[in-house]
C-alpha cells in the first residue's frame, strides 16, 4: 500500500467526519468548520487516488489548488450570511434547529 493511498483513505474518513458534523452540529460556525473539513477530505482523496502509483500528478494538484481558493471564498460568504443571521435573530443557528439548545454552545 503506497503512502498516497493512505492519504486517500484518510481523505475518505475526513469527508465522513465532516459530513456527520455538518448534519449533527446545530451551531452555524461549527457547520462551516465541518464543511471545510469535508472539503479537505475531498481534496486529499482527489490527489491521493491519482498518485497511488507513486508518481506526482500535476492535473489534480492544479484542480485542488483552485479548489482551496474557492473554498475560502465560500467560507467567507457563509460567515457573512451567518453574521447577518446573528444580527437579525441574536443567535447563530438555523430556525429549524429548535432542540439545539442542549447541544454544545458558545
Amino acid at each position: 500500500m503506497s503512502s498516497a493511498l493512505v492519504y486517500a483513505l484518510t481523505g475518505a474518513a475526513l469527508f465522513v467526519l465532516g459530513m456527520a458534523g455538518l448534519i449533527l452540529q446545530p451551531h452555524l460556525l461549527r457547520k462551516i468548520l465541518a464543511f471545510n473539513i469535508m472539503g479537505s477530505g475531498i481534496f486529499l482523496m482527489l490527489v491521493g487516488v491519482a498518485q497511488r502509483a507513486g508518481t506526482p500528478d500535476p492535473v489534480p494538484q492544479a484542480m485542488v489548488l483552485t479548489g482551496i481558493v474557492v473554498a475560502i471564498a465560500a467560507t467567507a460568504l457563509a460567515l457573512a450570511l451567518a453574521r447577518q443571521l446573528l444580527d437579525m435573530n441574536g443567535e447563530m443557528r438555523l430556525p429549524e434547529e429548535k432542540t439545539g439548545k442542549d447541544r454544545l454552545d458558545v
Partner: protein, 82 residues
Amino acid sequence: MIFDLLLVAALLWSAVQALTTPDLFRAVVLFIIFGLLMALAWARLDAPDIALAEAAIGAGLTGALLLDAVAHLHKKRREQSP
C-alpha cells in the same frame, strides 16, 4: 511510512477535536492546527504548490476569518446579557 501514519492520526484527531470541543474558540484554533497539518500532508504527497496555498489560505486566512467571527459572536453575547 511511520511519519505518514503519525501525520494521518494527527489529522484525524485534530478534525474530531475541532468538531466536538465545547468551546468555540478552541474549536477554531484546532481547525487552524488541522490546516497546518494538511499543509504537511500536501508536502508529503509531492504537492509543494498546494502546501504553500494551504498554509497561507487554508490555515492563515480562513483562521483569521473564523477567529474574527468568534470575536463578533462573543461581543454580541456581551451586548445581549450585560
